[in-house]
Symmetry: C2
Subunit: 581 residues, 2 copies
């Protein structure tokens, strides 16, 4: 293709509302154009990337046996009322009334519609398993859309839904999708990790996020560099320290810590490592009557090592906390501890509370904790001797770098990531709500076991750029670059030699199936090179009279420090040897 | 592909609400599945056709120099308020409010958004011409959605918009699109006509509809079999009969026609051809004051030959009728004609009216018309002698078969058609409303000249089927068939020979780039053949033990009366020789 037959529109400056690098670069490179908050036009340059991303996804989904269909953007509310999501989903769900005042929604996903299809179409066990997917426009009315395509309101998603006879079948379907996703992300050419994620109320261990690694990512990814272990922060297991609890070696002493209301301050005052302290978090749960009034509040003491943070998802799995918990009020704290926050601890309670210790805390000896007396802490505290063993010992905390890997094969590291894919075992959540059954061999109706599998197509663009850019612009992986090769002739309209060489190279590469663009816009070399570095095309060939005089052209990869001088006669073969077709 | 890896779902009966053949067949063939009124899931079989249609469109649009982008489905109301369409468009425009109570619309087309892009991006004459297109989901909240994908609410459309410096440039862009559309419809393999259409308020002659020929089409297409003339019924010109008005040969006689209030009844009574009668249509126009009250009504007499029908679009172009007209009331008729309808005519008016005669009427002699006296008509009426020449002679009627072609190269024929594409010169309608200007060579801002070019992607499916089906099902043109070839093995799971031959043929055709499906479902031959005839795959190869014993397989085109016996060893070559790749 020639540039003048295409549409190229680059900007020197990114608009002020572009907060993150990928958003800035996509705007500057003319990939997207803002239409409204979280709503973008995909300009020709950006659309080319989307199409390549979609083609890879489609290819691997088909290979994995999934079947493509297309479900509507505007969906009748009835189905969403069947599952209760029409009411349960907040304002993120865009609701609309048609001319007859009937309710519709703009789809954020398609569980309801695909389950409706399945319950009508998949009537026999002989038709299972089946996996339907589509690549379609979605809308989520985010409260605060931002980061360009990373948290937009309108976006393109590939969502797939598998239907199986039983959990074992669903696990197989899940594995097939997991494998397909790995192939997809491998083909994108992005550094990523598939990390185990929390399955929430569904249970089981079949949930993985596909995270594109980027320093700027919103998510913390936990992994073990010496094993396959990888999980998101919500799920990553904090194991008890190897070797168990050391023996007590100190006496418990009530120590004055005037004005030192944080573990860090106490540790500093006492000259002890922060990891020797224990922090006390006081939570409360409410029991409601049918009218929704609070009839009883229960207070819980959560103990974490001073340098650790509470993982609310893990706390939410503790029996008694599952239905939601909150920070205790000052009154509730005073009632149970007879003290104000900053000096709280598990010893000498005024009124009993449930004590839940993180695994690490349960394995500590000679630790420091609040004394339930303002300006005092205990030092040298030991379980069993100075206070009873905790009521419950569980994993309550976020893991940290250097923690032992749960698989026992090394220590944990943490990276930042951007979630761009998710595979998830749904069980019978939707099939039950919508009575999606099939008949088994005995003619008995049974609920279908479902899984869902999403990839944020447009989000891939943002994530790829967050991972791959430099001061000059985007650096696309070859498989999803808008063009693979750009030919930059200097003096295309002045020099017959340059024009002939550029045209010949263009035609030869194009005919070899290489996605090549010839920049015939007549820009000055500096502006032209800057454009293509901003846009991030992986390979550039510069053809000039000066070079041709010596029979040479210059080739440079987007990540190369300098250009390589290549004999003009060999340039096509040279390029072909370096690009994937 | 193998059938068991795909999804095939056929029905014996079409649902009761499927009124037209294409809707019935698409439902029965499992191409679409109803989700709500005018909202369909495109099932895997239907989506394959859509993708082929889209690919052809994309290919030819790109070849014609158009550039693809993607504009959002959910669009901010502000732009639609700029052009006034937010208020002017009726309930067809689906309006929605986001969580912040801001107005949005679900796009029915994208003139506003593309013009917004153009006014920001196309700033210099050097950037023109430019043609942007996208293939995107549209929504029109039809009052009465029906005919399946032919008049759905959610549908896929390709819409392109050209931007030019001046009308001459716009005409060139228009021609390029016209040519591209012809290539597109040729490649679809559909019988179609590009017919001139009315340009309405824009004026000019740059509007063509692309009509797929089908007996069941809603539109009447007028064409000349011996020339290139083709127009839709709204526009097709009715010319005056050759030879002009004959000389008067009869005396005018007031003739009793008791109870004969229609031209047909009068002609029958008098033993004259209907074409010797003239019918009188009495219309009125209202002049309103600023408050919108009627301050003056004007009455018009429109004269048409008894066997001709009024063309309201043509009447609406008459000066004085342009702002709309209505049938006159009985009181108005009595006031001017002193008679009730059924016996009205242009002779002996009680109060003068504007007389507008169709060209054919103006060329009549010795004609019959009402005498403005109940139960009487005049016969032998002649212009000039018996009544003044009409105030205005214009083309007022729908043309009929056998009319002279306006290009003088034959006579007109009429076909039914389904409009699936439209190319239209917009002029500055949108660029003016949205101030979309570019700077010319002198630095002066000038409005861009626009054109718009649509193809109803999903509608193509319905139109193709209306044109191509028989009692057994759909007959897809090869280029847009869901599969080009289906291999139907008999006893695939029983006979190793059949399986080997079927697999080998499948692999060879697939590797030659032919879109082939092997039906490995294990259906009985009758059911299997019925499915593929219903689905409409163009080529079928049946492989059976019985045939293989004689070294033969059977090949049959979807339109063939009978199968052809082909030597098994030659079947791949035989198929390859018959399909486009």
């Amino acid at each position: 293709m020639k540039a003048t037959q295409f549409f190229i529109s680059t900007l020197k400056e990114a608009p002020a509302d572009a907060e993150v690098r990928s958003h800035q670069l996509m705007m500057r490179a003319g990939m997207i154009k803002r239409l409204g908050a979280g709503i973008y036009n995909y300009m020709p340059m950006g659309l080319r990337v989307i199409r390549k991303v979609e083609a890879i996804i489609r290819d691997e989904m088909n290979r994995a046996g999934a079947v493509e269909l297309l479900m509507p953007v505007v969906q009748p509310a009835e189905l969403w009322q069947e599952t209760g999501r029409f009411d349960k989903m907040g304002p993120e769900l865009l609701r609309v009334k048609d001319r007859h005042d009937r309710d519709f929604i703009i789809q954020p996903t398609s569980e309801e519609v695909v389950t409706d299809i399945a319950r009508q179409e998949l009537r026999s066990y002989k038709q299972l398993p089946k996996n339907f997917y589509h690549i379609q426009t979605k809308f989520r009315d985010e409260r605060r859309p931002r980061f360009g395509v990373m948290r937009g309101r309108e976006f393109t998603m590939k969502d797939a839904y598998s239907f199986d006879r039983d959990p074992a079948g669903a696990a197989k379907s899940y594995d097939a999708m997991f494998t397909a996703y790995k192939r997809i992300f491998d083909r994108f050419g992005l550094a990523y990790r598939a990390v185990a994620a929390d399955t929430g109320a569904i249970g089981g261990d079949l949930s993985h996020e596909f995270q594109v690694i980027a320093d700027t990512g919103e998510d913390a990814i936990v992994y073990c560099p010496t094993s396959d272990y990888a999980a998101n922060m919500e799920l990553a297991e904090g194991v008890a320290p190897a070797g168990g609890r050391p023996a007590a070696s100190q006496a418990m002493v009530k120590t004055p810590t005037p004005g030192k209301a944080t573990c860090a301050d106490v540790a500093e005052l006492l000259g002890l490592p922060l990891s020797q302290t224990v922090k006390s978090l006081v939570m409360a749960t409410d029991e409601l009557n049918e009218a929704g009034d609070i009839v009883k509040a229960t207070v819980w003491l959560l103990l974490l090592r001073g340098d650790h943070d509470l993982n609310e998802v893990k706390a939410g799995k503790v029996e008694g906390l599952k239905r939601g918990f909150r920070f205790a009020t000052l009154a509730e704290i005073d009632e149970h501890f007879g003290c104000k926050p900053g000096y709280l601890g598990p010893i000498g309670l005024k009124k009993p509370v449930q004590v839940i210790a993180d695994r690490t805390v349960a394995a500590m000896a000679d630790f420091v904790c609040g004394a339930n007396d303002v300006d005092f802490h205990y030092t040298g505290v030991n379980w069993g001797r100075d206070l009873p063993e905790p009521d419950l010992v569980v994993d309550l905390r976020n893991v940290v770098e250097g923690d032992p890997s749960p698989d026992g094969k090394g220590v944990l590291a943490i990276q930042r990531g951007i979630e761009v894919g998710h595979v998830f075992y749904l069980g019978t959540k939707y099939s039950q709500a919508m009575n999606a059954t099939y008949l088994d061999e005995t003619g008995k109706p049974r609920l279908m076991e479902m899984g869902c599998y999403g990839i944020g197509v447009t989000r891939i663009l943002g994530a790829a750029i967050e991972q791959n850019h430099d001061a000059r612009g985007i650096i696309w992986p070859e498989a999803i670059a808008p063009f693979t090769v750009v030919i930059c002739p200097i003096g295309y309209d002045r020099s017959a030699e340059v024009k002939a060489a550029a045209d010949a190279l263009h035609d030869e590469l194009r005919d070899s199936g290489i996605d090549v663009l010839l920049d015939d816009r007549g820009e000055r070399p500096g502006a032209m090179f800057a454009d293509w570095e901003l846009i991030g095309v992986p390979h550039r060939v510069v053809i000039s009279d000066r070079g041709l005089k010596d029979g040479k052209v210059e080739a440079q990869g987007r990540r190369d420090e300098a250009a390589t001088s290549v004999p003009a006669a060999e340039i096509a073969a040279w390029v072909k040897g370096r690009v994937q077709v």
